[in-house]
Amino acid sequence: MKFNDLSREKWTELRPYLDTCLLPVTGLAGNESPYIVTGTLERLRDLLQRIEIPFKGRIVTYPAYHYTGDGKASFAAGLDDVCGRLKEGGFRYVIALTLLDPVPSVPQADLVLGESCSAEAMNEAVRKLWAQP
């Protein structure tokens, strides 16, 4: 489900079942032309569907982390911080899904998946994550 599908009442009711946060990471630098931005967001949308559709009843897609900023270090640290806060907010698992290649290292995310990962591989990775004790 997407974050905006959940009213306060629905979130209260479904919270025990929705234990996984899906964080899209767009990877925009900020100097892209509008049409490039549009194409990038469409690619991200298609990538998200590989996880959102099969696992709709357990995953909450949060708003995207769009910009990388200047330095790779500050971006990765910021992303990691957000993942940590999502867990503080109550999510048991955090999955970061990004168009960046190579995928960044995000220690506080349970899974970081990139565009090069096939739909089947993503599916398998998520199942394995949940199967862990």
């Binding site: 479904l14 079942y17 559709i53 099969p54 696992f55 709709k56 009843g57 357990r58 998520v126």
Partner: protein, 177 residues
């Protein structure tokens, strides 16, 4: 009776048959008014009764697979695209169905959408001849009957056979269990 009396009688008779100007005006105005009223009301009546006159839509059928590829008591997943028009938005989303023949040879096509919270189920992932949902481990029998977690059985597709091909129609509640 002389000729004057005759002509007078005749003119009296003629006067009775003639329409007065008042009558003519009344008829003309009334007729024109009635024409305009009918012209306004008739489309409204036609609009109001239109649903009764519409033939029930057959719904769209999608050719999915040859009947010979369907296995008995072994569901197989088949993917297909449908053409969808939602207002101004036109799309061709991909759907899937788990299709098998039962022991009587009837074809059953189940929707893969879990009735718990909408995840996509798979067949026999735990090797126990059940549909299993990866999200909260809802389980369904081979006929789609809900065994655990889910509140309802899996929906099924309307199925039609034509020239050796399986066509799938609308998704309806499970009629088998």
């Amino acid at each position: 009776m002389d000729q004057y009396e005759t002509s007078e009688t005749e003119s009296h008779a003629k006067r009775r048959k003639e329409m007065t100007r008042r009558q003519f005006l009344s008829y003309t105005l009334g007729g024109a008014g009635a024409f305009m009223a009918v012209g306004t009301v008739l489309p409204m009546i036609r609009f109001a009764v239109d649903p009764l006159l519409q033939k029930k839509e057959q719904g769209s059928w999608v050719k999915v697979v040859q009947e010979s590829e369907i296995k008995t008591m072994e569901p197989v997943e088949f993917r297909f695209k449908i053409h969808q028009v939602d207002g101004w938005y036109v799309s061709d989303p991909e759907l899937s169905a788990w299709i098998m023949k039962d022991e009587s040879g009837n074809i059953l096509a189940l929707s893969p959408i879990c009735k718990h919270l909408g995840c996509t189920i798979n067949w026999n992932t735990d090797k126990n001849n059940e549909y299993v949902c990866p999200c909260h481990e809802a389980r369904y029998s081979i006929d789609g009957k809900n065994l655990t977690v889910a509140p309802a059985p899996l929906d099924e597709y309307e199925v039609r056979l034509d020239n050796g091909y399986v066509y799938l129609g609308e998704i309806v509640p499970n009629r088998r269990v």
